[in-house]
């Protein structure tokens, strides 16, 4: 049976199977529905290109920092091979793509992480692109929106990856100093080193329904304590109840939500310019 449609594959099969309820969907309808199942509401993971299409003004996204290339500085087993395979398969340099885009004509600085590239893991390149997106927002007085989809820090870059947690946090610090709003969108999954750094200290945090959000792997968490984990442990709904995020927003509402937020929280930045 056909799996979830990948970009450019629509011509092949006319049908797609939902990863949630396993029902068969029309490929064209599925795409029009922003890759959300119209039976069960399962939000399928998006590549960064699909995310751009689903979110920003048409044709407004301009990728930046695409010249950054990862280095296997630890000579970590199998890292170079895995990384090269992802680069070739996905035609992108690393797990995060940064750039500028518009929402109803408002300029925003953005970075989008793509889980299909080595689990969206954050190494030196991803950390640099995220930090630059935050700094670009701070310098050019643009709101920053970052889409998270990551298993955490990239262990193949060792301690250098851990340092990306500090570096990206420093980027958030820059935005706060100059009053630039930073919005994080948690998508499936947002975990570990990414969650425990820049993502959790955004001014506003929005999550897609039922996405996985957590610090430790669910197995580790459940082993670690006698306290029973609720059935929806480490889902957006659990994290929302815990008071750790602002809103759970369905994909078709996401663009409107983000546009309103950047329009209001970023109004003071645009005064006297184009606002």
């Amino acid at each position: 049976m056909a799996k979830v449609m990948k970009p450019g594959e629509a011509n092949g099969g006319n049908f797609v199977q939902c990863k949630g309820c396993k029902k068969t969907l029309f490929a064209s309808e599925f795409k029009d529905n922003l890759f959300v199942c119209n039976y069960c509401g399962h939000h399928h993971r998006l590549t960064w290109r699909q995310r751009v299409e689903c979110t920003f003004d048409e044709g407004s996204f301009k990728p930046l920092d695409t010249e950054l290339v990862s280095v296997d500085s630890l000579q970590f087993p199998e890292y170079a091979e895995k990384h090269t395979a992802s680069v070739e398969k996905l035609d992108q340099n690393d797990s995060v793509v940064g750039g500028i885009a518009q929402l109803d004509g408002i300029d925003v600085s953005t970075a989008i992480s793509d889980f299909t590239f080595m689990g969206g893991s954050m190494g030196s390149v991803a950390g640099e692109i995220i930090t630059r997106a935050l700094e670009r927002g701070a310098e050019q007085k643009m709101p920053v929106i970052i889409f998270c989809a990551s298993g955490g820090a990239r262990m193949q870059e060792g301690l250098l990856s851990l340092m990306q947690m500090a570096k990206t946090t420093a980027g958030v610090h820059k935005c706060r100093e100059v009053g630039v709003p930073f919005i994080a969108v948690f998508t499936d999954p947002t975990m570990a080193g990414v969650l425990a750094s820049y993502a959790s200290i955004a001014d506003v945090i929005i999550a897609e329904p039922r996405c996985l959000i957590g610090f430790a792997g669910a197995r580790v968490s459940k082993q670690a304590q006698v306290v029973k984990a609720p059935d929806d442990f480490q889902t957006a709904e659990f994290v929302f109840r815990s008071g750790m995020l602002d809103r759970i927003v369905e994909r078709r509402e996401m663009r409107g939500m983000l546009t309103s937020l950047v329009s209001m929280f970023g109004a003071h930045l645009r005064e006297g310019t184009n606002g």
Partner: protein, 324 residues
């Protein structure tokens, strides 16, 4: 391959134990000839210990460094505080939810000057380990740390942090109270400081739990400490689906102090006494004191805004990549 520090140092510990017993016998021996013979044997044993340490410590691999960093008799945060930070007054509570004993914090004096101290604290016996939660701090611990950093800023006190944790607490309760946010917010509050900050990795620098309080203007590391993005056991489980390959993972992760220095991720490695900090805690404490003294001296020449900017630039620069 040894699984614990005790196993790895077993023959050495047996020798040291033997010396203690011989010394005890010699002290009670009245016959001068027998006493001299015992003393000769003691000297002999001590020589064997010295050469054993020399050989063993010259062949330390990454996995053995992990074992040493985790060794129970290693000096912990409070040991160093008691030695080099007089008048420490432990303060507690996050004013939100609870008290966390995996992190100790409070004002003390360093070289006579008031400073704020924050550090992870391990326990030595079963009871204390449970009380300290194995130095795995919960959100409350990091929120207490934030309170201390904010007081240090208000009252213009330099900050010293000691890092020694296997990881932040990964439990269900910690997740529901926002352990990730607490770690990130703690890092953020350290970036906001305009007072000098020196962080020292004294034992285990375990991923997010460690870096949460390690945003120093200067970051120092003890010779036999480790600093890693993931524990070697976890790395082996993910990579090779076999936690038993922890020694290979330790090697791949480059988690030793020498590697951290090579990649410029720490500013200085503090040399440990012969045979490790656990063989001479006082000497180790003196080395830490000298290092803090040196860097505090440098940092106190900088203005508040320079201190904040230097810290930002220090971490901003970390990462290795190329441009096409």
């Amino acid at each position: 391959m040894a699984n614990s520090w005790k196993e790895w140092e077993r023959p050495l510990l047996d020798l040291e134990d033997g010396v203690l017993k011989l010394k005890h016998l010699a002290a009670r021996e009245l016959d001068p000839a027998k006493k001299a013979a015992l003393e000769k044997r003691i000297e002999d044993f001590e020589e064997r210990i010295r050469s054993f340490i020399e050989v063993k410590y010259s062949r330390l691999g990454p996995w053995e460094e992990v074992l040493l960093a985790r060794a129970e008799p290693r000096p912990y945060t409070l040991d160093y505080i008691n030695q080099i930070l007089p008048d420490f007054r432990e303060l507690d509570g996050d004013r939100r939810f609870g008290a966390d004993h995996a992190i100790v914090a409070g004002p003390a004096r360093f070289d006579g000057q008031p400073v704020m101290v924050v550090g992870h604290q391990k326990g030595r016996d079963i009871k204390e380990r449970a009380y300290r939660n194995f130095a795995m701090a919960k959100p409350e611990g990091y929120r207490k740390a934030i309170r201390m950093f904010e007081m240090a800023e208000r009252f213009r006190m330099p900050v010293i942090t000691f890092v020694d944790t296997p990881a932040a607490d990964p439990g269900v309760e910690s997740e529901s109270r926002g352990i990730s946010e607490a770690i990130a917010a703690s890092m953020l509050s350290m970036f906001e400081l305009t007072v000098p900050v020196v962080s020292i990795i004294i034992g285990e620098g375990g991923s997010g739990g460690a870096i949460g309080i390690a945003i120093g203007n200067k970051v120092l590391m003890m010779e036999h400490a480790v600093y890693s993005v993931i524990p070697p056991e976890g790395c082996a489980a993910i990579l090779w689906r076999d936690p038993g390959k922890k020694a290979q993972a330790a090697a791949a992760l480059k988690l030793t102090s020498a590697s951290a220095l090579e990649f410029n991720l720490v500013d200085e490695v503090i040399k440990e006494p012969f045979g490790g900090a656990h063989r001479n805690a006082v000497e180790a404490g003196e080395s830490i004191q000298a290092a803090i003294s040196k860097y505090m001296g440098e940092l106190q020449k900088m203005s508040p805004s320079e201190l904040k900017e230097q810290r930002y630039q220090r971490f901003r620069a970390l990462g290795i990549f190329e441009t096409e």
